[in-house]
């Protein structure tokens, strides 16, 4: 056994307090910078849910967690979601925050899933299988359900028999003007799904380089973002496309990359966020002007956002490959970094790759994690 005397290795011991040649003023500035960093703990309350807790089999396994889309049924405030793992489930979260597995979507492998709620209280779900064919499925949202024990749910996923061949739906929107649902596909085609006649047909084809987001204004117009960030409006009645002179914001010299990750229509304005350069912006349709709100933090992407009834905007940012996105608020005082999305009840979990975000009827915000084995987060903003 060694009897060597204890000695310190000063050259490699714990952190050296100051750098060589550093003046006290510079050192003070450096240490201040260290403490001027991002907030660690989420401001507000975050609850983290696993999709494992099922009341109706088959259970959603841990490797089927990748949440493809979220929507809220406004009639009762229930959240619906779809997963895209080895098995593809449709689920909902009831008012007691129990996750209920509706069932498995019968497609081989789902690459994406876009959901929209029709005026007939049906949830329509476009699922693309491994052969790149998209099938349209539906689920009756008024299926009887009681959250009293014994828990029981008899809802089912039905096929509509409608197929979009060799194309993948990347966005879906319900248009209240004609009560139809419109699908945007990866090949740039816009399909009109006539709910009453149960038919689907192509109405327009966009030029290449468009963003995978679509919204509707409720008066017969669909909005998309074309290559170079050009905002455009398609009138579904005369099927004419009008291009705006305004563009989605981008950093100087990166205009060719400009695109929108998500756009939503609210009271005569389109709110949007960019997937590169992480800008939040609004577009006033009447004046054809874009207002750039700026960047929430140092992440590269704004993954999603929601607009609350009071006009405040909550969003999530992240950077590809970096993980652990941040939540932000845009309000009267500009941006506010609300920290990591860290939930400690009923499960402990962090949102690694925030992807989808929807607002509930009471102002609560649902956030999905887009990583493998992701979780569902419920966020109550700080009042």
């Amino acid at each position: 056994m060694s009897n060597k005397k204890i000695k310190r290795r000063t050259a490699t011991g714990p952190g050296i307090p100051s750098k060589e040649g550093e003046s006290p003023e510079i050192r003070k500035l450096r240490l201040e910078r260290q403490y001027l960093s991002q907030p660690f703990i989420t401001e507000g309350s975050v609850f983290c849910f696993s999709l494992l807790d099922q009341i109706k089999g088959p259970s959603i396994m841990v490797n089927d967690y990748k949440i493809a889309d979220l929507v809220v049924y406004r009639k009762n405030g229930v959240l619906y979601g779809a997963t895209s793992g080895d098995e593809n489930h449709l689920f909902f979260m009831d008012k007691k925050k129990m996750i209920v597995d509706v069932g498995i979507v019968e497609a081989k492998t789902i690459n994406s899933g876009s959901m929209s709620i029709g005026y007939d209280s049906m949830l329509y779900f476009a699922a693309t299988d491994a052969d790149n064919n998209t099938i349209i499925l539906k689920h009756d949202l008024d299926t009887d359900y009681t959250d009293q024990y014994p828990l029981n749910y008899s809802g089912d996923i039905e096929e509509t028999g409608l197929v979009i061949e060799k194309d993948m739906v990347v966005g879906a929107v319900s248009n209240s003007w004609d009560k139809n649902i419109y699908f945007l596909t990866a090949n740039g085609k816009i399909y009109q799904f006539d709910i009453s006649k149960k038919i689907i047909h192509e109405i327009f084809e966009l030029e290449s380089g468009f963003s995978k987001s679509i919204c509707a204004d409720g008066s017969g117009n669909l909005f998309m973002v074309l290559s170079g960030g050009i905002l455009s409006r398609l009138n579904v009645n005369d099927r004419k496309l009008a291009k705006s002179t305004s563009r989605v914001p981008s950093q100087k010299g990166r205009e060719y990359l400009a695109g929108a990750e998500k756009i939503v229509y609210e009271n005569g304005k389109i709110y949007g966020c960019t997937s590169q350069d992480s800008y939040l912006f609004s577009y006033v349709v009447e004046s054809d002007k874009v207002f750039n709100f700026g960047k929430p933090d140092d992440n590269y992407d704004i993954r999603s956002f929601i607009v609350e009834k009071d006009g405040r905007i909550y969003g999530v940012t992240s950077t590809k490959g970096r993980g652990l996105g941040h939540l932000f608020l845009y309000g009267e005082n500009g941006f506010r970094d609300l920290g990591n999305i860290a939930g400690f009840m009923p499960l402990t979990g962090w949102c690694n790759e925030p992807s989808k975000m929807v607002v509930g009827n009471d102002g609560e915000i649902f956030i999905s994690d887009g990583d493998n084995r992701s979780k569902l987060f419920l966020y109550f903003p700080k009042i």
Partner: protein, 372 residues
């Protein structure tokens, strides 16, 4: 236990280093040890080996020096080498760096909140090797930015490393020079802590629920087998069935243990399936202690699976003979007022079991000699 059977060698050169997790037997018959400094902000990990003939600890590398990651930078420091020492047949010992040490001046390191912090982030896990032929240490640079790599396994047949990141728990592969990284996605809620190379054909690990994950080492197909390790009745398996250590036995089964579990288990591939067997804990004689967990699995040449049994009374050295199916108690390990325990172990040609401290500061390398 007769104290003569137990020896310890203290890391006097680095008395402030506080834990040791990684321990591996090199092809050069030396025991390699990663010495961590987790509890002191700005701490630095050190790489050592132990010459089993000369009975001498040799300091090989200061991880801050070889990575060039200045501990005074204000970022989380290169303070840890976790379960990542991989011996290679060309007499090199590969390893990756890990992070749990707080940036200088901070009381603790929060892996989640500091990951994206502009100043306190961890630079990233480095891949390095120590070449015992020319006593050289080579750093390949950061292989995973901002995260640590707590678990690394080498498949020389597939010519690649399999690693796990922390805190995001992504499984990745890279070539022997830390390049060509392929992210295989998030495989567990909490990061896997045990991974084993099964004949260069499969890599086995488990998620934090104890589900066995089988990865084809060449095709890189990740298979969530649906086979779960046993867990206590009071738990759903989360962080209890979590595979804690694993080793391939002479019967071509993988022997393993759970994080909070008192059972030995084994599994083996059979076609596309994975067969699992819970061996229980068949003690030769009952033990007067509450079992917490089983640690540090290593086989000797007589098919004895040596392991450490951590209990409320201290740690016992145990061995399970896979032919007889009986567990022998070699005794409670205490010497000079020190409790001996460890998370990984290695056995030399003379059948002596080596493990390193998690609990004593300064850290000791322990040696249990069953033949004394």
């Amino acid at each position: 236990m007769d104290p003569k059977k137990l020896d310890y060698f203290t890391f006097y050169e680095h008395p402030e280093n506080d834990t040791s997790w990684a321990l591996s037997m090199g092809i050069d018959k030396k025991v390699y040890i990663g010495l961590c400094m987790e509890f002191t902000s700005g701490g630095i990990a050190q790489l050592y080996n132990f010459d089993t003939e000369k009975e001498k600890l040799n300091h090989l590398a200061d991880i801050a020096e070889i990575t060039g990651d200045d501990p005074a930078s204000g970022r989380a420091t290169q303070g840890k080498i976790h379960f990542s020492l991989c011996p290679a047949s060309d007499l090199k010992m590969y390893g990756s760096t890990h992070a749990t040490t707080a940036p200088v001046g901070e009381p603790f390191w929060d892996p989640y909140s500091m990951l994206n912090d502009g100043y306190k982030y961890f630079e990233g896990a480095h891949l390095y090797y120590y070449d015992s032929k020319n006593y050289d240490v080579v750093d390949y640079g950061v292989i995973v930015p901002r995260q640590g790599v707590p678990l690394l396994t080498l498949s020389e047949g597939a010519e690649r490393f399999f690693g796990v990141t922390y805190p995001l728990a992504h499984l990745f592969v890279c070539n022997m020079k830390g390049r060509g990284i392929i992210d295989l996605g998030k495989v567990s809620e909490h990061y896997p802590i045990s991974m084993v190379n099964y004949k260069d054909k499969y890599i086995f690990t488990s998620d934090s629920y104890g589900q066995i994950i089988k990865v084809d080492a060449k095709k890189l197909k990740v298979d969530y087998t649906g086979v779960f390790l046993s867990h206590p009745n009071w738990s759903d398996g989360r962080l209890t069935g979590w595979m804690c250590d694993s080793v391939v036995g002479p019967d071509d089964s993988v022997y393993c243990c759970g994080y909070l579990n008192n059972r030995l288990m084994r599994f083996w591939p059979e076609g596309d399936e994975v067969r699992f067997e819970d061996l229980g804990y068949p003690l030769e004689e009952p033990i007067d202690a509450n079992i917490i967990r089983i640690l540090a699995l290593s086989f000797d040449t007589n098919s004895n699976l040596f392991h450490i049994l951590a209990t409320d009374k201290g740690s016992y050295m145990m061995s399970y003979n896979i032919g007889q199916g009986i567990i022998k108690n070699h005794g409670l390990m205490k010497k000079d007022g020190l409790n001996a325990t460890g998370w990984r172990s290695a056995i030399d040609e003379k059948g002596r079991v080596y493990f390193a401290d998690v609990g004593n500061i300064p850290v000791n390398l322990w040696r249990y000699d069953p033949n004394k």
